[in-house]
Every structure is written in C-alpha cells, then in structure tokens.
C-alpha cells in the first residue's frame, strides 16, 4: 500500500489523535533465499535496496541490520552536504549525490528537510588560500557552484565570527551555495518506507555473523536469525565492513576509528550557513531546533567503542571558542561517537571483489552522509549489472594495487 503524506492525511490523523498512522514498513522474518541481500540498514544500505528495486527491477531483496535503522553513522553525523571535491572522480560522485538530494523529498514523498543554506570552508594561512582557490577553480571546471569569499564577505555573512584576533586568522573561504544540511533520520526512514513498498524485506535486530562463500562464489550469510542464501550480497556496514569482509577471507584497506560530534543547548537563530575549518578543526551549523551541531575529529587509534576520547572534544571546543567567542558561555547538551571506516586515500570503495556476487560500499571515512543517495544509486547499479557505473568506476579495490588513488585528503573535512 502506498503511504502518502499530505496536509489532508495530517488533518485526518489529527482527528483520531494520531493513533492510526500506518506502520512505515513491515517487519518480516527472513526467507530462505534472496536474489540480493544488503548488510547494513543505514542511509547508504537502505538507499541501495531502494534503487535496486526501483531502477533495476530486482524483486527478491532483503536488508539486514544489526540494530535499528539509521542507528549507526546515519544518525551520528553532522548532516553536512556539499560536492566541492578536488578531483574529477570525486566531484562527479558527490555532485551526482547532491543532484539526487535536491529532488529527494519529492521523489520519496518524505521530507528529508534538505536545506541549501550554503557551505563555507575557511582558509587560515597562505597555503590554505592557494589550496582552496585551486579547489574552487577545479569545481567550476566540473560545473559545480563554488566561489571564493573575501574576509569582508565572510564577516557580512557570519558576523559572530572572530576573523582577526586569533592565532590562525581567517583570510578567506570557499563557498558552495547549493550545499547545506538535511535531516539524518529522514533519509533512512524515507528510503526504508519506499523500499518496503516495493517488496524489500527490511529485517532489523538481525546481525550478520559470517559471509559464506564456496569456490569463489557467494553462498549466503549466517545471521542471528539463521542462514540466508543469496545470489548477491552488498556489504554497507561502515565501521564493521572490514570485520565482515574478513569472514569471507577478504582484507580491505580500512581502519575503523570513532568520530565524534556534539550539540549545544538550543538557542535562537545565530548562524545561517555551514562553516567548516579543516585547519583549526571546527565545523558548525545550526539545526532547525536551534542547537549548534559541532563536528569534532577522529581518535588516533583504531576502536569500535562508539564514544571517542575527551581530548578530541577539547581540541574542537578550543577552536570553536576562538573562532566564535560568543559561544564561550554555552552549554553542550550531548556528545557521541560513530565508528567510521577510513581508506588510505580518504576516498570510498564502491566495488566488486574477488568473490563472485560479493560487493562492498565502504571507506566513506568521515564524510559519507552527503553521498548517501549518490552512493546508493551507483552501488545498486554495480550490484545489478555486476560492473561499476561510470561514476564509481574509479572507486574500485584495484586502485590499491595499481596505485591510481583518488587522494581527497585536502577536501575531506576531518583530517584522516
């Protein structure tokens, strides 16, 4: 049954005290066999299931998730969306995603609250200026909106910013007007609801324990709800992707680390864009509820504890208070960590592998949220056709043998 939201459905359900809203998706028990199983119920995984059903006509699909939908990094990031990456390959991938974001609320009939309030990347020294101006020019050559802002223009847009009286003064910035933020849960729920409508079995509280292979072909996956056979398996498990790959005998170039974020108490509107600074490591936007959403860094060591070290928070807050002295007296409400899988070149892997029928979408590191619909879209293509879409062809596993890396350390917000 197609569930559509409109002003009439809200009015109708208001009359019955909002007690009769239909469930957004079923909770079926797993069947014995599926054409394709997606492991990981975050935005990338749910989107993959959605596009597999919608664009490639696959009927018999399951998605299994260890916890609840969107409870991993989809629910733990700072929701920043932009496509101002340096290299052509990355620019095409992230721009593909940004274009999908722009129409996603309409396509899913579910409000993902995509707010194109612009994203600013600050320059704090001569090298930053050269690097960021180069990136602005590269973006423009790829048809991506990106411009250089002078210090005065920044001051006009973000008057609370301290640009001069600090150790690393603000000298300028790049600005992508089409960038912005979106609602993290909504992208997971929207994809889940529409995938479910097309017959995808979404199975929560079902942990993948072992990926079984036979003679170099995929057999299925051992789960906490029993063994499920499959022709194809797509692993989209962020921090745990490497662990699952290992059960199939595949070693991936990934390291898992906690990445932290925190939010402040809610305040009146004070900052109307997204401001990021890689040099001093602070980035901030304001949520619709009024909380400042602040991104911190990764720990230096591998870990699967969804927590992170306090020294990382201290460093970020130090930079925040220096850049925005007005935030000095604010209280922080919550802090959390998510386990990100980091690739040596700070670019993702969307690829098939040596095992026939096994596919990986991983290595998004500290910046996967922005790519959610684009990543899901090209990963679904890769799974359905057994070969990459031209957009993700460069993001294969072979690049770690050929050396043809996509080095995006400069454009990644969090230093890897």
């Amino acid at each position: 049954m197609k569930k559509n939201y409109s002003i009439f459905s809200i009015a109708r359900n208001a009359l019955s005290g909002h007690k009769n809203w239909p469930k957004m998706w079923r909770s079926p028990e797993p069947r014995e066999f599926y054409d394709a199983i997606i492991i990981g119920g975050g935005g990338h995984g749910l989107g993959t299931a959605y596009y597999l059903a919608k664009e490639h006509g696959l009927k018999n699909i399951a998605l299994i998730e260890k916890g609840w939908l969107g409870g991993g990094n989809t629910g733990r990031n700072t929701t920043i969306i932009r496509s101002n990456y340096l290299w052509d390959d990355s620019a095409h991938l992230y721009e593909h995603s940004l274009k999908l974001w722009e129409n996603l609320s309409q396509e899913l009939n579910y409000n993902v609250m995509f707010s194109q309030r612009g994203v600013m990347n600050l320059a704090h020294n001569e090298h930053d200026i050269k690097e960021i101006k180069r990136r602005v020019s590269a973006n423009n050559l790829n048809g991506i909106d990106s411009e250089w802002l002078s210090k005065e223009e920044i001051q006009k847009m973000v008057p609370i910013m301290n640009t001069d009286n600090l150790r690393y003064p603000v000298l300028g910035a790049s600005f992508q007007p089409r960038g912005g933020v979106a609602r993290h849960d909504a992208i997971a729920w929207g994809f889940a609801m529409r995938a479910d409508e097309m017959g995808v079995d979404i199975i929560q509280n079902c942990e993948a324990k072992q990926i079984r292979t036979k003679n170099g072909k995929i057999e299925g996956v051992e789960t906490s709800k029993g063994f499920i056979r499959a022709n194809k398996i797509g692993v989209v498990a962020s921090g745990h992707t490497g662990v699952l790959a290992e059960t199939a005998g595949i070693r991936l170039p990934l390291q898992s680390k906690p990445l932290q974020a925190l939010v402040s108490e809610p305040i009146k509107p004070i900052i109307n864009t997204v401001v990021m600074s890689s040099a001093v490591h602070a980035y901030v936007s304001q949520s619709d509820k009024g909380e400042l959403v602040i991104g911190a860094g990764t720990d230096s060591y591998n870990s699967f504890t969804q927590r992170g070290g306090f020294n990382i928070i201290e460093e970020t807050i130090r930079a925040m208070v220096e850049l925005y002295p007005v935030f000095g007296k604010m209280k922080m409400l919550r802090q959390w960590g998510g386990i990100v899988d980091i690739c040596p070149d700070a670019s993702p892997i969307i690829s098939k592998c040596d095992v026939e029928g096994l596919f990986f979408n991983c290595g998004w590191g500290t910046g996967g949220f922005k790519a959610t619909p684009g990543s899901a879209n090209v990963f679904a293509h890769t799974i359905a056709k057994n070969e990459p879409h031209q957009i993700n062809a460069a993001f294969n596993l072979d690049r770690f043998a050929s050396g043809k890396l996509v080095d995006e350390h400069g454009a990644a917000a969090v230093a890897h």
Binding site: L252, Y301, S303, A401
Partner: protein, 116 residues
Amino acid sequence: MLVIDCPYCGPRDQSEFSNGGEAHVKRPDGSQDISDREWGEYVFIRSNPKGLFYERWVHSHGCRKWFNCVRDTSTDEILEIYKLDDPQPPLKKFENKIKTPSGEPDVGSGNFTVKK
C-alpha cells in the same frame, strides 16, 4: 582518554603518546620480485579487528621510545604492554569479549543501538 603505562616512564595520559597502528607488520622479502597487488597489500592493508589487536605506540612527548601493546578495540582496554624486543604475546592468553566478529561486548562498548 586512555591512560597508557609506558614501559619506560610509567602511566601517563594518552595525549603524550602517538599511535603507530598495527604492530608486527613485516615488509615482504624480495620486494622487486613480488606483484603490484602483494606490494599494495603491504603498503595499504592493515588488520582492523574488532577485539584483540596488536598495536604500536610512541611516547612522543615523553621518552620518545616505541613499544607494543595488546588492546581490545571493542572496549579500548589495554591488556598488555611490552617492549619492542619482547616476544609477541599469543592472543589466546587473553579473553575475547565479543562472541561474533562484529558483536558487542557486555560492557564498555558505548554502543546502545544493539539489543543484548
């Protein structure tokens, strides 16, 4: 933040140390003869287990000496610290607190999205 027991200086805050990634990684012999893929694996691929992990640390803001340790990446508990020329302790010496490869330990994971 971890407290790390430097084998030369004693327990200090983690902020004095730098992490050196996986320990006991061996550079392949005859690097001119091996395939690009084998070389790529040596350059780019490191173990990334959930649970028991051999890793290196250096006391950057202290004695500046390197040492190894065994840490549980599912809880961050440091189980053993040993010097570079000490023998590698076997993993079976330690209890693995997770029952499945990507499972959660009963305490210390910080992950509340999974029902125990």
